[in-house]
Symmetry: C2
Amino acid sequence: MTATELWPTGAAYMDGTYMPLAEARIPVTDWGYRRSDVTYDVVSVWDGAFFKLDDHLTRFAASMAHFRMRPRESIAEIRAVLHELVRRTGLREAYVAVDCLRGGPQPGGSGKPADVRPYIIAYAIPYVWLLPKEKVERGSHLVIASTPRIPEASVDPRAKNFHRADMTRATFEAHDRGADNPVLLDYDGNVTEGPGFNVFAVTDGRVVTPDRGVLEGITRKAVIELCDKLGLPCEVRALSPEELRNADEVFITSTAGGVMGVTRLDGRILGNDRPGPVTSRLFDAYWRFRREGWCAEPVDYAPARAAE
Amino acid sequence: MTATELWPTGAAYMDGTYMPLAEARIPVTDWGYRRSDVTYDVVSVWDGAFFKLDDHLTRFAASMAHFRMRPRESIAEIRAVLHELVRRTGLREAYVAVDCLRGGPQPGGSGKPADVRPYIIAYAIPYVWLLPKEKVERGSHLVIASTPRIPEASVDPRAKNFHRADMTRATFEAHDRGADNPVLLDYDGNVTEGPGFNVFAVTDGRVVTPDRGVLEGITRKAVIELCDKLGLPCEVRALSPEELRNADEVFITSTAGGVMGVTRLDGRILGNDRPGPVTSRLFDAYWRFRREGWCAEPVDYAPARAAE
């Protein structure tokens, strides 16, 4: 039992205040929107515990530093906010996002980004799947999109950001071509990532994922660690579209869904049109380890003293 | 006298409703913010009249089509909204922005961008200057930034968008180096644009502005037309940083300020550290033609019948 009202459809925190998600709204003049001057992270809660929260918070701190943002909250305080948000939803499985965005310029101010205060918005909602459940079982259908990924020299994908017009354009292309998701190439023609996920290829028992032009996904990192635990060779290096097309198996990873098989690529059937054996091993291991409390930080569901 | 309350600090319109600007806030889960899945335009009002409103609305329609967005309002209705917004501020000089952004996915929906409804936000505020007045007179100090512009194959700058992290990073670099604004190069090393402005070089009486990798600014277009009126040769073609550095004059153009001289580039003094003669001719012609009603559409300050 909690002392405060539960918001099971979504709880939000905005610059010091908790509120139901529907009330979390950004001024239309804030640069977080108007210049997409914002960074974010997403962490999952499964069975009442955060997964790899330390890794997410470390990455988020690095992303904020990259964009030269320092909000009023410390990382320890942000951690407490995320716990409090999940507690206020009462959810055992949750999708928890945290953004740091630049606000709006003050009248008479310098107009310099360094003088505009960044602030934190965070929210917890019921767990989100990148793919609907039936497609997780069936496997995703991917296409290699014709729109190239924004290069990292212009916008570094390791600092997680909302510069997604290339991804959205590629998503339209995927849907036009009857597929579920796109994967984008860089300007050297190598495979990068798709909207919200990293990509892996499996050839002759070796697992490969791109080393460049991609977000260093926490689930991607988890899979690299799982490969080590399972004795699967894993290489982090440039991945060509030819290698992806000719792979025995392809899978994608995301905080929103974990390990998800890919069964078609540019219309070509991979394996027997079902997620392959290495993918299935990693899928099973991912969920088994999570159930067993791997890198888990239990949510503090007890009401905070101040909120009682 | 108007029948409705005036909001002189800012009037907004959001998906069918008028409100004071401070109430115009975007749900944190909307893709317009969360994926920067949004396009926009900005038009100025000077001395009670819009400047080149037709050109802005034509470009905005093309931008929305590019991003596959169709809001509920027709272009004629958007035009009426912009008039009504300025009327509700009572301002004779105004900065008027209009955004079309994708909303949020519906629970149980397909999750496809094509199925997520885009909507219009617009607002009018007192006229905004890209540079403070004293810097318009003194001339802007520019640097050629080390961050390259997002390439147009990834995100087309002609479809006006908020993918500005490259610009923001370059702005920090400009300020670190003691300058006012950055100009960004493309991956071929050619000059593109800066945050909110186009760039022009003047050499031996010839005016040059980049033809590629840039927003086709309405003030840029106005300057090209003014060159024709004034008998100044104007070339729209690739512009190298060497040509910019060695130019007799450099100036920038924006809806937020018109024609603005540049007096330093990478710390080097241009001319005699004052805006040059061609820049001054274009500056004077721009404001004189505007005063004379060039491409002007007077704001309808009479209250709409429905609002009485």
